[in-house]
Symmetry: C3
Subunit: 341 residues, 3 copies
């Protein structure tokens, strides 16, 4: 797809300075601009690139004043960064506009389907499933019986949803995510083996949630594992049975939350963090990457370490840990001095 400078300026409510007929087909960073690409200048640190960039079009804010000659066509807007973001979203909307049911898909006759949905080949929709308007289901997705998927949600290829789970509106579920697999629950028996505890709950994902590729969210033993609205989960995250994650909490890649733990709202959790089961984590908590949380956490706490302690305390202790050989030498010296007395 190609777009003219004039058309882009209209979309962004900006004005063209230069060739209004120049066309672009891709987006680029200003320092990597090529003919046929559109870029933007928002951070003054990058200003020097605007005089050398090969980008055909550059979006600039209205307060930008050039100090040298510029070969690119400019589109002048209120706020260059916001305008570029708007352009990105427009581009993405055009990209994700697939509609229709492709051949070799299987949809149970009892399923209820909304308008303008896309179901790719090799995707499976079980009995009594509800699919809202504008839902996009890419190829090779399996959706078990009695699942509900609300409007505007996207399931990328390879997503697996077990029966009975619910996914809200405007969610993005990336490839190979598993939703609703059995929680890890076993009762020990007399002979040392383990008997499975049936996991009959489900997973409820509220609106505006994004789940990164390869993440796994287990169904509750009873009741629901709940991901509240606005939560953003990165790739390869593990959410165990009966966990609750509060609104707008963001968790980086490869972190794991053990069973029945409740995390508050607006928390920021780094990558490769582990949180043990049956804990309560407050709101606005920040946890550094690779930390291991094994106790309840009050709101607004900042944690670090494995096991995790107050982040600033951890950093102070670690400074000494790095100098441990030196510290032990000081003790050796003190002992020597005391002996000599």
């Amino acid at each position: 797809m190609k777009f003219k400078a004039a058309d882009i300026a209209q979309l962004l409510q900006g004005t063209v300075k230069g060739d209004a007929n120049v066309e672009v087909s891709t987006l680029s960073k200003i320092e990597e601009g090529k003919e046929g690409s559109i870029s933007f200048l928002a951070n003054p640190k990058y200003e020097n690139f605007i005089y050398t960039t090969q980008a055909s079009i550059v979006i600039v804010s209205k307060d930008f004043v050039a100090t040298d000659s510029i070969s690119s066509t400019l589109i002048v807007v209120e706020d260059a960064y916001q305008a570029f973001t708007q352009l990105l979203q427009h581009y993405n909307t055009i990209k994700n506009n697939k509609v229709g049911i492709e051949e070799y898909s299987k949809i149970d006759s009892s399923a209820e389907l909304g308008k303008d949905i896309y179901v790719g080949s090799f995707s499976y929709i079980g009995a009594n499933v509800f699919i809202g308007d504008n839902v996009k289901i890419y190829p090779n997705v399996s959706i078990g019986d009695n699942v509900t998927i609300e409007s505007n949600t996207v399931l990328h290829s390879g997503v697996q949803v077990y029966e009975g789970c619910k996914i809200g509106k405007n969610c993005i579920i990336h490839s190979n995510v598993v939703i609703g697999s059995d929680g890890f629950g076993f009762a020990p028996t007399a002979d040392g083996s383990f008997e499975k505890i049936p996991q009959i709950g489900n997973v409820v994902i509220e609106d505006n949630v994004e789940v990164g590729s390869g993440s796994t969210i287990d169904r509750a033993t009873m009741g629901s594992t709940i991901i509240k609205k606005g939560v953003k989960l990165d790739n390869q995250i593990q959410v165990a049975h009966n966990v609750q994650i509060g609104e707008n909490t963001v968790i980086a890649s490869q972190s794991g939350i053990a069973g029945s733990t409740k995390i508050g709202r607006n928390c920021m959790i780094g990558g490769q963090v582990g949180i043990v089961g049956h804990l309560t984590i407050g709101d606005f908590v920040q946890i550094q990457a690779q930390s291991g949380v094994n106790a309840d956490v009050e709101s607004k706490s900042q944690l670090y370490g494995s096991p995790a302690i107050d982040a600033s305390s951890f950093r102070k202790s670690y400074v000494h840990f790095r100098k441990f050989p030196e510290i032990v030498k000081r003790i050796d010296k003190l002992e020597k001095e005391n002996k000599q007395k």
Copy 2:
């Protein structure tokens, strides 16, 4: 599906107290009971909920004596917890009773298929595969050539089994598990690049094993990677080539076992644990979450830390680590005192 109180009582060998015709279609915790759900009271701590629950039916033990009025129908049994577990299992059996070969599945003509199997759409069964009686293969599963899957095993959607692997009876393999991918083996060459060492072994999973969603189990370089009977693996676990995991060992989510390590029986390994290659871990070993094991471990050991040491020693050292700034101040003070003398 709806079930009458009278029918459930018969299944559980209990007696109905209340309306024997009341119907339920789901299970709930007693504190979350709704009309149409069945719950149970086992833990006396929850007794007060039985007087307010909206659950249509509650299972109680025969020694339960009500101290207030109850609106739910009761089913009185020997042991309420066991009865409820029995009910769960019955419910799960009904839920997993799919039978038949769905359209758009591909089964090689040389494959041998047992009775009462289920093969979902978009599932692929290669040449010379053996599928035992009552095996359930959900949609979007790929099974390579020469694979053996014994009776009553369930493969959830998105499971990938490479050629030549063997899975025993009564196993549950959750969505997007990979069994039999190549082990990570490369030989360095003179120019700094790496040459692949072919991985020609397989994976053998014995009976009664459960593997959580997203886990990966690599095939042996030669011989077999072996998961012994009764092993329970949580989600996103990595098992490298030539690993052996002993009977009834349980491993929590996101742990990884490097190549050729042998783990004994009845071990309990926490989440996000790493175990380096070529080690021997004894029986009944317990390893705390996020530990990193880099040496052989004797039976019945308890480990913690990265690198892992005796768990109780780790905890004692960590108490001091948390007070490290204070400890260094004590040394400062001692040095000052010695100088002043």
Copy 3:
């Protein structure tokens, strides 16, 4: 498939000592040899097994001198280990020689297909995709629009490639790998929720790369996430948006690289390592398993710990950490002595 000793000897340019007509159908370690298998003796430590092995054929180097009777047929070659590796590669080539487009696959009419390719059932190839000669695409693979896959590359079952990504020659991508999912980029808004930053870049994987099962590689926000030639990634590795990994770098299982970090060439990174975003890691760097890297790293450094420091310093400090209670007792004693003075 069965192979005669005479034929194998010809392939390996060796000579048969024993029954040239004996047939084998599988490969084994010498200590696990069974009738019908072929093994090899390279390491003198294993010599005693050659007198007892049940393997039908054993490959030996020309300088091997038997000190007892051997029942197996021998194939005498220049170098037994190299000959066996050659045999393994031959075996693997035969195993991976599937050719043709299977039924129930979907290939967009605009896709360009090379010679001798294999496309398994339930695999999806989008618009304008380029597939080079001899590419093997196993079942249940999804390839988005505008993807390029160069010659001789293998995509195992369940691989998901998002639109616009590029994969080089001679790559092996294992099951359930995700390539090109959105990077984890969100801008905070005034009400505490997060707005998605569109991710419009792609992933570029150069030649001779192997990616282990379940790994996820996110597309760049703009530009490309780049995996350079000869890189070997183990299972369940996470590579975030705009990361670059240099030539021949090897990363073990369950490690994660956060956004925009650049890793040099010929690095060796252990399992469960985390590297935070926007760092520069030099060439020939070695990082111990479970380390957490949070600062730039110079070439040839060796790191360990979380946060990671110089590996040898970490080990020295950890020796003292293990003896922390004892060290504190020494301080207690010093304080007591000073008080008594």
